[in-house]
Symmetry: C2
Subunit: 187 residues, 2 copies
DNA sequence: ATGGGCATGTAACGAGTTACATGATTTT
DNA sequence: AAAATCATGTAACTCGTTACATGCCCAT
């Protein structure tokens, strides 16, 4: 009896999903891909990709594919199995919508603003604005890439969604900053 | 040598932050409060509040305050200590901005839309829209409460931010739904 | 030759969840 | 009478991170 029927972690489904595009990938390549997904779904640590891949292999949802390398350990590519595809589609078809999990530390700090000085809050928001602009730049690159590649319509759609989200964040952060400054000068 | 100087988990800081408003609260009450924060910062499991509270007690960042109850175990209230306040302010003042962690399972599923039928995606988005409207309703209640209470200016600000966020989500979800339907009818 | 990217893996730990267990009080 | 809420706690487990270890290849 194999373990094919148990439910998996989200990280596992993400890996399965990445492999569902049809390419055989190494752990390293999967990780790079996951990093583009991080804009709307957190990216796990490198070590976890490998352990998750092992678990998936045990459950026969992916198959390894050793590429011999001269002088170094084999490069391990992974492909998705039929069972893996079925399992992944089962998850996709589950209409139960999990609530979005957000860990917004800047919002959290603002929430507890009564314990900080306006100066500190101002600094935090200035940094946050800069970082959001940075992300917007990165996401723009990803978006452009996706829009010019075939069979990437859905990822492109999500990238567009993400772009709107980070833009809205930028607008709101500036609004919040203005309010903090208003409070600080204590008219 | 006490353990006061180590750094804490975000959950610990959240608990400390909740206690920083000055009230002495039970684990149960802290949990309820954390549930209002969940709109922008995920809410930990019940059991974790209690274990975190113990850790904080060991580090002398909070003090317990047993309220005797007839016939049942004491109710344990917790207050924040001076050290706790200092520690919390230290964390607040750290200008290093942690990237927002998002686990948006609907966006993730859309990303892998090539493996689903338009029907399934439509269903998922309809549910997501309904749930976002639900959240907007709940958040509206929280927001109104906060706006009418003294010393809740910062939480109210965050609630307003959250309201904008979920509204933008609603708009984008409807846009995405329209695109999926467009694809499905394959005009 | 130094740093960065490619590539894989392990060990120890901490964070967080699920499920279970208990029992009183309040509301429907 | 049943269900929900108040209230606390434990045990087993999984998830996920940090840090370490190794070694190649490529560009500057």
């Amino acid at each position: 009896m194999t373990k094919r029927s148990q439910s998996l972690s989200n990280t596992s489904y993400t890996i399965l999903g990445i492999l569902s595009f049809g390419e055989e990938l190494s752990g390293y390549e999967i990780r790079k891909w996951a990093e583009n997904i991080r804009f709307f779904y957190w990216s796990p640590a490198q070590s976890q990709i490998y352990s998750e891949l092992q678990r998936l292999e045990e459950k026969e949802l992916v198959f390894p594919y050793a590429v011999p390398q001269e002088g170094k350990p084999d490069k391990r590519l992974y492909g998705i199995t039929e069972f893996g595809i079925a399992k992944f589609q089962g998850w996709l078809s589950d209409e139960e919508v999990n609530a979005t999990v957000i860990k917004h530390s800047v919002a959290l700090k603002l929430y507890f603003g009564h314990m900080a000085t306006p100066d500190i809050l101002t600094n935090i928001f200035q940094r946050f604005i800069a970082e959001t602009e940075e992300i917007l730049g990165q996401l723009g690159v990803v978006q452009e890439y996706l829009e010019n590649h075939p069979n990437m319509e859905y990822p492109a759609l999500v990238a567009e969604w993400g772009y709107h989200y980070y833009n809205a964040e930028l607008t709101m952060a500036k609004k919040m900053l203005a309010r903090i400054v208003d409070n600080g000068t204590g008219s």
